[in-house]
Chain length 432, copies 2
Amino acid sequence: MRAPTPAGRHRVVIVGGGFGGLETVKGLAGAPVEITLIDRRNHHLFQPLLYQVATASLATSEIAWPIRALVRDRPEVTTLLATVVGVDAQARQVRLEDGSAVAYDTLVLATGARHAYFGHDEWEPFALGLKTIEDATTIRRRILMAFENAERETDPVRQAALLTFVIVGAGPTGVELAGTIAELARHTLPPEFRNIDTGEARVVLIEAGPRVLAGYPDRLSDYARRSLEKLGVEVELGRAVSEVTAETVTFGEQRLAARTVLWAAGVMASPAAEWLGAPADGAGRLKVEPDLTVPGQPEVFAVGDTVTVAGPDGKPAPGIAPAAKQEGRYAAAVIKARLLGAAPPSPFRYRHPGSLAQIGKRRAVIDFGWIRLTGALAWWLWGIAHIYFLIGVRTRLSVALSWLWIHTRNQRGARLITQGRSSATKPPSTMG
Amino acid sequence: MRAPTPAGRHRVVIVGGGFGGLETVKGLAGAPVEITLIDRRNHHLFQPLLYQVATASLATSEIAWPIRALVRDRPEVTTLLATVVGVDAQARQVRLEDGSAVAYDTLVLATGARHAYFGHDEWEPFALGLKTIEDATTIRRRILMAFENAERETDPVRQAALLTFVIVGAGPTGVELAGTIAELARHTLPPEFRNIDTGEARVVLIEAGPRVLAGYPDRLSDYARRSLEKLGVEVELGRAVSEVTAETVTFGEQRLAARTVLWAAGVMASPAAEWLGAPADGAGRLKVEPDLTVPGQPEVFAVGDTVTVAGPDGKPAPGIAPAAKQEGRYAAAVIKARLLGAAPPSPFRYRHPGSLAQIGKRRAVIDFGWIRLTGALAWWLWGIAHIYFLIGVRTRLSVALSWLWIHTRNQRGARLITQGRSSATKPPSTMG
């Protein structure tokens, strides 16, 4: 189905256009290769700001770019919008959903992870995860519709359930979601509703572990918890969620009536390990050799959230963008060295650039190891860092503009309740 | 269900948060009224630029604003996200989909129009209309997926059908869609595809009448046609479409294989006339008294696309934003005069401010009556006028930024293929 590869060119197939896959493409610039970059979506997503789409702060197009556009100046790269369903390691082919296959000489799996429910997949319809643009607009619709429905609800018990937002998991995503929902309710929405006080909405952050932002030093965790509480977030630590239904969340001995539950408690790697029949850890992440190849398959690399590698402290490197980028860059270096007959690079070593998390307006925590920051200064650095890592000047200006309006006027520019369907179908029901 | 109205306050219910409805709200500022503004969507939409969302030029949030946010400073206005299904003129109530009702002393119907298929509703799944944000993102997905599928298609006949885009109807929307799709194909996409030349895509604009932009003077129509042809659009005049299927469009004697068909050929008013049992024209538009009230129901006004009023030349006023705004403002003036016991304003007279249409990059036609412009100057005026009429400084800056990038770099910032569903469901199939 695809155009034939020029004779002799080494064929690199990269599955996944996230941070790991794109960085591999970048690292292979100038190498004597033909690259096929396969993703089941047409866009690269800046996941660190996805929670801001879910909370109506940013527009979808501010954090997503067509993958094709990102590699337009690389004629040796062919972008394929397709869903990979397996790998035929013997034949050196990846299999696509439509039954066709793409042959490789070298394969790089950068297939990421999905949110996971620890064996409770039945919670998925009620506890919304956040990994894709569609996840984010679904969460945005659910949050905004909860306020709309509460405005029309006359039964106080049902109204309270509509105005209760539960976030499960107090890692960076959970903390950022909780803080932003609290601000939406307390600062943006109050002047617009006539029958309810949106400022009285409950935002409950539930964490099974003993503290929020478990990966951070104690002092920053404490600061984050106190900052959330100042924003009016109820932080519930040390109790795991045992049940989620359409109307309730149960944790410890407590059952909470809540109509909006967001899931930020765990991820599961893509099925790359299954495709290869290769060893994986409990979260489905491939265990790889020190050069990021799959054991016994030196022509197959794996990078990003679908893989587990040791960090400097012996613990696994975190599932964040810098790790995926470093791994992608490393895999490209190994491939290049092999093709040029050069000495292989020394084994991959993850270098942690620092941890950043925003906690509502003008507060953040930053841990660079050698320095730890909180408060407004941390927030500015957080903002500058994120704008820096966005792609393209237009997006940077646009996001800066959106943030300026949020922070000076409490206006959030992307408060749209939309469905993916054509308007031939009915708009969302407004009843609870 | 709603909060009780303070005793004695005159209750105005406005159905529809488009240009007509919002202008009525504005015109009623300071009047001794309680206003309930009902819309089945949470956002006001700047329809004149909706085609730019459909063609990936603008983001959805750049042309849509939460209705609540627009009236936040008007405590006497309650916004209701709800679908109206009828009017009980005897009881003076509008009926909502959920079975409840809202009582009015004065009712303003500003319920707009939908695209219509002239008795061929079976064409709707194949000939996509453009009235809502969801329509626009659906069209955007269809256009972008056509290129994606063509890139993977090996059968040249099917590939050609995928690369054929048909727009039915050469009014402003049809002309603007055709011009922008041609530019997308010829200027934005070519460097990004490896197996197809997107510049060879056919864009066919079919019009039953003898010329494009029928409402414009002949000279401007001719200019528009020639400009479209320069962009590579095939303009087919004087033949009506007689059949649309999933794979073909038939017009006159010709049958064209095309996988993407857009419908810009006609609209039908909302069922407001049916709700009232009142007289309407062939397109379902209410025939109203000179003061915009419904015959025999002086407490019911109708404004915007759901109504037909005579223009200065005796022909009906066009279904454009300025007409809806003038009507909304007029209805508010009549309501105010009644409440204050003042003399009623003189009968409504539509004043045509001018017609503007963009024809691709740096070309437009403008007809102010006293002056007619074409070319780059018209395009600049077109752009300035549209930015002026957007709501809010942030949106204006953001749209200006998006246009700057399109016009200096051929980059379109909103090329996302998204579904409205959560990612638990599969992404769009990539097979044709």
